[in-house]
Each structure stands twice: as structure tokens, then as C-alpha cells.
Symmetry: C2
Subunit: 95 residues, 2 copies
């Protein structure tokens, strides 16, 4: 099992515009083979700071995810509307 | 529901010593009222970089957690064995 945390930092003027993109990415990712969970959180008091917490069956499932059309397109769009580079952490469970 | 991500950066020479502290913190936190989940992950290829992902019923449960004896003592000890300040993000679920 692979856990991923991905922090995104959306410019305030684009927060509304990204809502549909986040929604599409969550919906399509959840349907992917090997996707155990795919959740989006917003950071309190930090507008535009959004965090994905994802659980994947294995590395292959995660690699396949990063090659899907929706992932490539949407991450590209989110990046253009961000004020800071996304911070992605890939982990395995310890306890 | 409140989600917390907490990154810890343990100096390599203390990684082994912190194992029992992490274990105690996870076990005791999971028994606390309002604790929905409390998991520890290790970051691939980044020795000593450990991440808690926690789910709490509400803000009160999280606040009570941060005042428990085990939390105060163990976080204090982990901090002295860290090479960088812990990075804590408090969030609410969006999708």
C-alpha cells in the first residue's frame, strides 16, 4: 500500500476556477484500478492551500495514475494557477 | 471532522531511538476520545522523515490531544532529536 500527500498552492484569484478541476480529478481518480482512497482537504486559514491524501494498492497503480489523461491535463492546469510548486510526499505505512 | 498531517524530521542517529516513542504516541493517541484514526508513515528514500496522518472528531478532540501527558512529553523528545522543525497542517475535508 502506498500513501501520497500532495499540497497545492492555488493563487486566490483562481480558487473558484479550480473547483471543477479538483472535482473532476477526484471523481476520475477514484474510479482508477488500484485507487483505495483519494480525498481532498483545504487548509484552515490558508486560502488556496489544498491537500490531496491518496491511498494506492501499490507503486504500479500510482505510476499508472500519473500517466492518465485526466491527471496529466489537470495537474498541468493547476500548476499554471499556483503561486508555489506542489509538494508531493510518497510514503509507506509504519504504524 | 479534522484531519492533521504532521511531518517529523528525525536525525539519522536517533531514528532507532525514536521507534518506541512513535509506537507509544500512536497507541495512546488511538485510545483517546474523538480519535478516528492515527497513522504513522515513513517517507521513501528520506531516512528519518516520518509523517503522521490523523483524523479527529472535532477541534475539541484535537485540542485535548495536544494537552495529554503523552503528547507533550513525546513531541518534546522528538523535537530534541529532529534536524528540522515539525511541519503540521490542520485541514477539513472538501471532496
Amino acid at each position: 500500500m502506498i500513501k501520497v500527500i500532495a499540497h497545492f498552492y492555488i493563487k486566490p484569484e483562481f480558487v473558484e476556477k479550480t473547483e471543477s478541476l479538483f472535482k473532476e480529478l477526484v471523481e476520475k481518480s477514484r474510479k482508477e484500478k488500484g485507487c483505495i482512497s483519494y480525498e481532498l482537504f483545504e487548509v484552515q486559514g490558508d486560502t488556496g492551500h489544498m491537500v490531496f491524501i491518496e491511498t494506492w494498492k501499490d507503486k504500479n497503480a500510482l505510476d499508472a495514475h500519473s500517466k492518465t489523461e485526466h491527471f496529466v491535463r489537470i495537474i498541468d492546469e493547476l500548476t499554471t494557477m499556483s503561486y508555489k510548486e506542489a509538494l508531493v510526499t510518497v510514503m509507506t505505512q509504519k504504524l
